[in-house]
Subunit: 386 residues, 2 copies
């Protein structure tokens, strides 16, 4: 496998883009990434597009081809990949594989989703496409239900409190205020969080990510093109994709996701580093409790201490390990197919040193994107390349 | 890139599978392919699943993970790919890439779709997800409309007649009678075809493929495992994926698809062969006129003579180039995400010499899978490996 660099990034604001067709959002992010990279579009050799539910919510598929057409890309393979909420991370991994394996010298990744135009019932039904509905549908469990169970187990096993979990919410919402791309930054008190509407006990309103529209894009190039990369090059040290159980009953433990644990271990091995080397991570906090579980599964925080570390400020921008300085899904938003690519956008800006909520001296960054009931996961490791 | 062999194939009957969940159809085909290959499932290193519209029609996504879970595959990357009607061919190409580039020594491809349970209006709306609906939706043009235009141009330019086009229908429907997997084989007269219901002038009922459920699967292994392949090994000489215009107005000629022409040229170059070396092809005859255009685009038949060759019997099972001995989409059926993988199933059986509608001495076979308005295309070339 060849060395691969990230040469360009682009992103729309995450939030409401009512009236903008989904493909136009994708094109906008891609145009930014191409401009940022200084790589001519004629040199792009593959396009991977991550999207989850444009079929049910927009009546639109073949988005990879449609976006390529509007961008004026050459006659290259254009592929939509889908793995529920991990669709963006999977798109990135495939573009990385295309360059690393020598299929092409430059590849474009786009992640995109539009959701805010749909009624809540439609959105909930579409999101539940990520469940194994034959097995788990009859239980009536939705994703808030699944993560509510995870919270209950975490609380029972480790004594995790509402206040500790609220520390994650406060951190991410506060980080979101510093990120101009974020949908819902806020300065929240413990009382505001604890008195917000019940969603699925014990999850309350501020424990849940919003419904979002948005797109992000990344241009990858072969290491041999380093001289052509404008500004600080960012190296891809590892990009790993795993799977976990689809059925909820197939998980030996609802307080840990096998797919995350395996992806992190393989990524560290591929990169030749350990969790302690990671300076900054964007991880999949679809719910507050998810950040806690994820940070433990990734080995960034000792098992059972995810909430404690957040409460002690050790996961803040100036903490031992900066978790979700973008605001994460909780505050930046979660346009599903775009999320994983948006995480890469954020980490690249951190490693370039030009993030609006900068982690000091960030040299190694990580992204973690989790799909469905942990059925699909990607972890990528990036390094500042100068 | 390493040599890759097809070690196993499986397929359900194409037709109606009312009441069978989509993932179970995929599992059934995959179980067959694994059994046929003699490769233990613990050795499968990647799964690619082709599907187009399970989201809109079934409310089910992450099918790659769900199928892997039910198969008991290890913790490997499982990816759904989508490119409208070319989804199956795209899945095959990615599994081939995974093995050819050394990511793993064995990979599984599944293509699956269920459509017959939906109402006609729902199916039509879902199929139109393959259009660029912002540009072409307002015209009201559906896929029969697009191929009706292609026919009109072919007729005007080359003098193609109803009777010549009917020769394609008669051949494929007749071939379908010899294929136990086919949904709608038939022995039709010219009168029966010419008097069938008008669908979209000049297309009539028998010019259109049926709505189908079905699944097909293929196991690929590295060439180094040739000694473990049971029976006749089949070599993958080339697998190419291209794109064409998404908007109908973006096509310089509606009587030819750029994506097909480019895919064929690249595949011949990759394999080091020419069109004249191909003994048997399964190509994308979603409509009768599509077979005529495709056979010309693939260079198998001189430009403008696709219908004449069919009428003269030169594309029959015992003709100069055997086209769609399976019955093609017209008679075998078109469960969209399964179609491209089903084509590979058919060609492998031809090259093994055990097809129920066998082409004598078939040594080199081709598959051609076309998506949307020609926005995505795959062409693969296979060779009998003994």
């Amino acid at each position: 496998m060849r060395d691969v660099l990230i040469a360009g990034i682009g992103s729309t604001v995450f939030g409401r883009h009512a009236g903008t067709p989904i493909e136009q959002l994708g094109v906008k992010a891609a145009e930014q990434a191409l401009l940022d990279s200084d790589i001519e579009r004629e040199r792009i050799g593959a396009l991977y597009l991550g999207n989850f539910i444009s079929g049910p919510l927009n009546g639109k598929e073949v988005l990879a081809g449609i976006v390529a057409d509007q961008l004026g890309l050459p006659n290259i393979p254009c592929t939509k990949v889908e793995g529920a909420c991990a669709s963006g991370g999977i798109a990135f991994r495939h573009a990385w594989l295309a360059v690393a394996s020598g299929q092409c010298d430059a590849a474009l990744v786009v992640g995109v989703e539009t959701m805010t135009h749909a009624r809540t019932a439609e959105t909930t039904a579409a999101l539940n496409c990520a469940m194994d509905n034959e097995s788990d549908g009859p239980s009536g469990l939705t994703f808030p239900g699944l993560f509510g169970l995870a919270w209950r187990i975490h609380a029972q096993r480790y004594g995790t409190t509402r206040s500790q979990v609220s520390a994650v919410v406060r951190k991410n919402k506060s980080n979101g205020l510093r990120n101009p791309l974020a949908q819902m930054g806020a300065d929240l008190s413990d009382e505001q969080i604890a008195s917000s509407a019940a969603i699925c006990d014990p999850l309350q309103l501020y424990d849940c990510c919003p419904t979002s529209d948005g797109a992000a894009a990344v241009v990858l190039v072969a290491g041999a093109l380093r001289g052509e990369v404008r500004g600080v090059p960012v190296e891809v040290l590892a990009s790993v994709q795993t799977r976990g159980a689809a059925r909820i009953a197939g998980h030996p433990d609802l307080c840990s996701f096998d797919a995350t644990v395996a992806a992190a271990q393989r990524a560290y091995a591929m990169a030749g580093i350990s969790a302690a080397d990671v300076d900054v991570v964007e991880l999949h906090d679809c719910f507050s409790i998810a950040e806690i579980v994820d940070s433990e599964d990734l080995g960034l925080v000792p098992r059972g201490e995810g909430a404690i570390w957040a409460a002690e400020g050790r996961t803040a921008v100036d903490g031992e390990i900066a978790i979700n300085p973008s605001g994460g899904l909780l505050a930046k938003g979660h346009p599903v197919g775009a999320t994983g690519v948006g995480q890469l956008y954020e980490i690249v800006r951190q490693l370039r040193g030009d993030h609006p909520n900068q982690v000091a001296n960030a040299r190694i960054g990580m992204t973690h994107n989790l799909g469905g009931t942990g059925v699909a996961c990607t972890v990528s490791l990036l390094r500042r390349g100068d």
